[in-house]
Amino acid sequence: MNNHFHPRRFIVFGIMAALFAEPAFAISKGKAIELVERLVGEISLMINSVETEMELTSTFERIVAKYADMNVISRSTLGPRARGATESELKTFKKAFQGYFARKYSKQFQGFAGSQIILKDTKDRGKFFEVGASIVVDGSSNIDVNFRVSDRSGEPRFFDIILEGISLLSSERVEIGALLDKRQGDIGLLSKDIEELG
């Protein structure tokens, strides 16, 4: 009789495997952290090397296109009106929004040269992971920046940044919502107009 196929051993081995195997979600957690590590690396490089405002904006837009789930973010800022929009309207808006977003938020990184970004704890928020980070400015004051990461669009990407408790996504939903109201819900017109904003 071959000891290796003893049923009891097999059960024990099965329990051990179940106990030590990583749950399916843990892989995503590692991936979420890895994404933010790479993202933060690129942002650090940007704030410490880029000099002109134009260069800052274009570098930031490239980073955003690479790491953010811009389809989902831009769609969400349109609110319920996104449901009535055509694919091509959403695509045009996404492109315009991405530029607006880069112009608006790249300004926030001015004056951070010499500061460090360190990663902190990552929280499992159920449907997504929140990777905590801190911008250390001159060792005196820290700025909390959390990245909300999901892979529900197929690959890990961030869909919201929480800066000192303020969600960028919710802030942009208010902003874009108000801009859209002023244009009677005309997404095409909004796409054209936000090219000038940010």
């Binding site: 769609r75 996104a82 449907k127 909390d144 909300r148 408790g165 919710s170 802030s171 902003e175």
Partner: protein, 244 residues
């Protein structure tokens, strides 16, 4: 039994009252704003005051007064507000922060020449900022309806009451100080405000004068920042754009 001799015991009445209050408790999110139309008028008033008085005064102050003097005045005002913060630390049973703030106050009032110099920070005693709104939060009060106060700006029912209590009741400095220090203090407080308006100028301008709906943006930012500051996770709302 609830009914004894046809009477409703007081406890069940109380229970019913509590149930009703619990049900009418503030919803999560940012739409607990029953006074929106009044708030929006106050917001326009506040913007008018900022645009015509505070922002220009702040710019003038900044260009006329040297940084060193600005910092000293802000330090002086900040130091005198510390005893009130210690009272709140104690009311929250946060004795560690009470100790830190007391140490700050003692060091800066003596070696720091009546609070003009902030030496405590260089010794590693940072301020643990707090207020009576936070105390009420610790005691279990929810934030209540959003209000925009004239001159004081964004608040909510709980924190508005807190601000009033901080200014009137919980400020040991105001009980102890006499003229001319009280006048110096008022001047220093205004100076601190003007300095803050300048330091956070870009952010304030972006919200008040560059956003499409400054009222809604200001409300959102205030509520999220405040919940973050109080670590009020029960009230945290997050958007899941994937399930829309």
């Amino acid at each position: 039994m609830f009914f004894i001799n046809g009477q409703i015991p007081i406890s069940s009445l109380l229970g019913m009252a509590m149930l009703v209050t619990a049900c009418s408790q503030t919803p999560k999110g940012f739409d607990n704003d029953p006074f929106e139309s009044v708030n929006r008028k106050t917001h326009e008033f506040n913007k008018l005051i900022d645009k015509n008085f505070i922002a220009p005064a702040s710019a003038g102050y900044r260009s006329l007064v040297p940084d060193l003097v600005e910092n000293s005045l802000t330090n002086f005002a900040g130091n005198l507000s510390l005893p009130g913060k210690v009272v709140n630390n104690v009311l929250q049973l946060d004795l560690k922060s009470a100790g830190k703030n007391t140490a700050r106050f003692v060091v800066n009032s003596s070696v720091g020449l009546l609070g003009i110099f902030d030496l405590a920070t260089s010794f590693g005693f940072y301020e643990n900022n707090t207020d009576f709104g936070q105390t009420l939060h610790r005691w279990g009060l929810t934030e209540g309806a959003y209000i925009e106060l004239p001159l004081f700006g964004a608040s909510n029912f709980r924190d508005g009451v807190g601000q009033f209590v901080d200014m009137t009741l919980l400020d040991p400095s105001s009980y102890v100080l006499n003229e001319p220090i009280t006048t110096y203090r008022s001047v220093a407080s205004v100076s601190a405000l003007l300095q803050a308006r300048q330091i956070y100028g870009d952010q304030i301008d972006a919200v008040l004068y560059e956003s499409a709906d400054s009222y809604a943006q200001n409300r959102l930012i205030y509520l999220q920042r405040r919940r973050f500051q109080l670590k009020d996770e029960s009230n945290e709302v997050y958007i899941d754009p994937y399930s829309e």
